[in-house]
């Protein structure tokens, strides 16, 4: 036993016993010597007090968890901090043990002055090599990716051009080609059954009125579609927008219309963001309109608009590409009739309506989605029947890729 104690005293490496809380219960003379301190001075202090800050973090995040889970750790590199502040690089081995029924950690510290130098050289050589390999791999990968992207981009441009042409033609169709037959139907209907045509049977009157209503509806739909096609004409330039001002303006415009009854909007602090002013304002108009069409009879409409800044990936379609930038995440919440959860994405479809009786054409939210997509954003709806709906819009603060 005496011999064992003697060996411990003379051991050519530092040795410490930690209790469960990480306090130094025992330090051998070699460790005290390494630390330039005495056993009395260090006993009872935390192991962290003899480590550099970085080694403390490593101790907490790696060393301590591993020691606990594994029961032992070996060859861990750490740096001791001596009483006068100098650093001693050490290799640490440790194991969990018990002493009088209490868990203790036994650690040995071997200074690695010389080894450390080799390791540093090894590491810097390895790093340089790693960097060269990585750069080369990255460059080759990028080259292949660039080529692939260019190829895909070119194909997408052809498709988009084609679609854009079709869109322009469609707007011409809605503007003129479809209006004309409608006008004619209406005209000749009047000619056939106009006021000066004498008595018309009751049943025929009913049929005529249905035809007239259908004509109106068709007119309304073609006008809406024209609107939908024209909204994202990209001529408008991007400016820095104050969403609060746009919402207030949207509200005022709606209040001028007779259909807009009394309602209130609470607007929180909203960060400014880049966008095309008339389009974004249109989104707010459509969202408020939508809320107005889905109010409950027993409570006046209240809309709450709040926003937070979040970071989102700017790449929406390319998998494996990530760049997180600042986005505004805006919530437009109303206290209206809401809808069942399964319609969350349905409501953004063209002419899709939850409530067939409501006044709108089923175009507003589709239009919003188009505008938001054109601004590289996302829009989603969540609602509960009877409790109201919440539209969440996420838009990048900057439109350009800077």
């Amino acid at each position: 036993m005496e011999q064992a104690k003697h060996i411990l005293q003379e051991l050519p490496c530092g040795c410490a016993v930690l209790d469960i809380s990480g306090s130094l219960a025992y330090t051998n003379p070699t460790l005290c010597q390494l630390l330039g301190s005495s056993e009395d001075a260090v006993r009872g202090t935390s192991i962290e007090s003899i480590l550099t800050v970085a080694s403390r973090i490593f101790y907490q995040t790696h060393f301590f968890p591993l020691l606990n889970l594994k029961g032992e750790v070996s060859e861990i590199f750490m740096t001791l901090k001596t009483a006068n502040g100098t650093h001693v690089p050490v290799m640490v081995n440790a194991k969990v043990s018990t002493e009088n029924g209490e868990t203790v950690y036994i650690c040995v510290f071997a200074p690695v002055w010389e080894r450390q130098k080799y390791e540093e050289q090894l590491l810097s050589a390895k790093k340089a090599q790693q960097k060269a390999i990585e750069e080369n791999t990255i460059l080759n990968g990028l080259k292949a990716q660039l080529e692939m992207n260019q190829y895909q981009l070119d194909r997408k441009i052809s498709i988009l051009r084609e679609r854009n042409n079709a869109y322009l033609q469609m707007s011409k169709v809605f503007m003129h080609d479809m209006q004309e037959p409608l006008r004619k139907i209406s005209l000749f209907l009047d000619a056939l059954f106009g006021k000066d045509r004498g008595e018309v049977a009751y049943d025929d009157q009913r049929k005529i009125s249905i035809i007239r209503k259908s004509i109106l509806r068709l007119r309304h739909m073609t006008r809406s579609l024209l609107d939908f096609v024209q909204i994202s004409a990209p001529e408008e330039s991007v400016t820095f927008l104050d969403p609060k001002r746009l919402i207030i303006e949207a509200k005022e415009e709606l209040e001028k219309e007779a259909s807009a009854s009394n309602f209130s909007i609470d607007i929180g602090d909203l960060p400014h963001f880049e966008g095309r002013e008339s389009q974004i304002k249109r989104v707010f108009i459509e969202l408020i309109k939508n809320a107005l069409q889905n109010t409950l009879a027993d409570r006046p409409l209240n809309i709450q608009v709040t926003a937070v800044m979040v970071q989102e990936n700017v790449y929406q379609h390319q998998t494996d590409k990530y760049r997180y930038t600042d986005h505004i995440q805006m919530e437009i919440k109303d206290n209206g009739s809401g809808f069942e959860g399964q319609y969350d994405s349905y409501v953004f479809g063209l002419f899709n309506k939850i409530d067939a009786r409501s006044g709108g054409a089923g175009l507003g939210l589709a239009l919003c989605k188009q505008v938001i997509s054109n601004h590289y954003g996302t829009i989603k709806a969540q609602a509960e029947p009877g409790k109201g709906a919440c539209i969440t819009i996420v838009l990048p603060i900057r439109q350009s890729a800077g």
Binding site: E48, I57, L69, I76, F77, V310, Y322, Y324
Partner: protein, 263 residues
């Protein structure tokens, strides 16, 4: 994409309300082994490893994504989506407290409450803010990590779990034990210790519990108090436990405080 495999998702427990346990920088889901059993009767326990940590699928690691804590938050949201989780109790250790916070702001409906164990919103000091570290400290940490990679294979080799009370866990944990790729671990350290999420704190809408250890070097008391101040609705508990890993060193106290908060 198989999220179960990618994030090494483990589902346990007999309860309905999901309770997600998210490990911090340095290890994997095993860190929670003393904690989750206390909630298995009342909750659906969801354990996982972030891509690049523990037993995750390292081939899914993308340095662009995981260079930012929002990339890690996306892991949490991906899991919530794959498992269709709602109203989760999210228990995050260290940097995971902030990762869970970011996720909860993006998809609030997925979360019920946040338990933040040893959180910090910013590790590096700056004028008017005490984070506990200087830039030089963090650089030395990255250097220390580099030096430990020389003996990495030995350091992170498969280990047999000693768990006499729950022998059923032994096999499952053997392989997935804290195996972290050195390059990934270094990037995780960078994403963690260089992040600044102070402005995100005010965006939290959920109930939150801050578990602050006494004498925590990584997240000092001042940092926990700062977070509490920025999140006025949060519940702040200063623990008797010391260090940065109360879930390992003081599981009883940790469980008691989480239970108190949830009841």
């Amino acid at each position: 994409m198989d999220i179960y495999k990618r994030n090494n998702v483990t589902i346990l427990g007999q309860g309905v309300q999901p309770m997600i346990f998210a490990h911090g920088f340095g290890c994997g889901q095993q860190m929670w082994r003393y904690i989750w059993p206390a909630f298995e009767k009342t909750h659906k326990i969801v354990l996982f490893d972030y891509v690049g940590s523990g037993g995750s699928d390292n081939t899914a690691y993308n340095p662009e994504r995981y260079g930012n804590l929002n990339g890690y938050a996306q892991d949490v949201l991906d899991i919530c989506n794959a498992l269709d989780l709602r109203d989760c109790v999210f228990v995050g250790h260290s940097v995971s407290s902030v990762i869970g916070l970011l996720a909860s702001v993006k998809e609030p409906e997925r979360f019920d409450s946040l338990v933040m164990v040893g959180p910090s919103a910013r590790y590096i000091d700056e004028a008017g803010y005490f984070g506990g570290f200087s830039q030089a400290d963090i650089e030395e940490l990255l250097d220390t990590m580099d030096k430990n990679y020389i003996g990495w294979a030995n350091f992170l080799g498969p280990a047999i779990m000693k768990n006499d009370e729950r022998p059923e866990l032994a096999g499952e944990l053997t392989d997935s034990f804290c195996s972290t790729d050195p390059i990934i671990a270094r990037q995780f350290a960078q994403a963690t210790f260089l992040s600044d999420n102070r402005t995100d704190l005010a965006n939290v809408k959920h109930r939150a519990l801050i578990l602050q250890c006494s004498n925590d070097l990584i997240a000092p008391v001042e940092v926990g108090e700062y977070i509490h101040k920025q999140m006025p609705e949060s519940v702040y508990r200063l623990m008797q436990a010391t260090g940065h890993c109360p879930h390992l060193s003081a599981p009883d106290e940790t469980v008691r405080l989480i239970r108190e908060f949830l009841s």
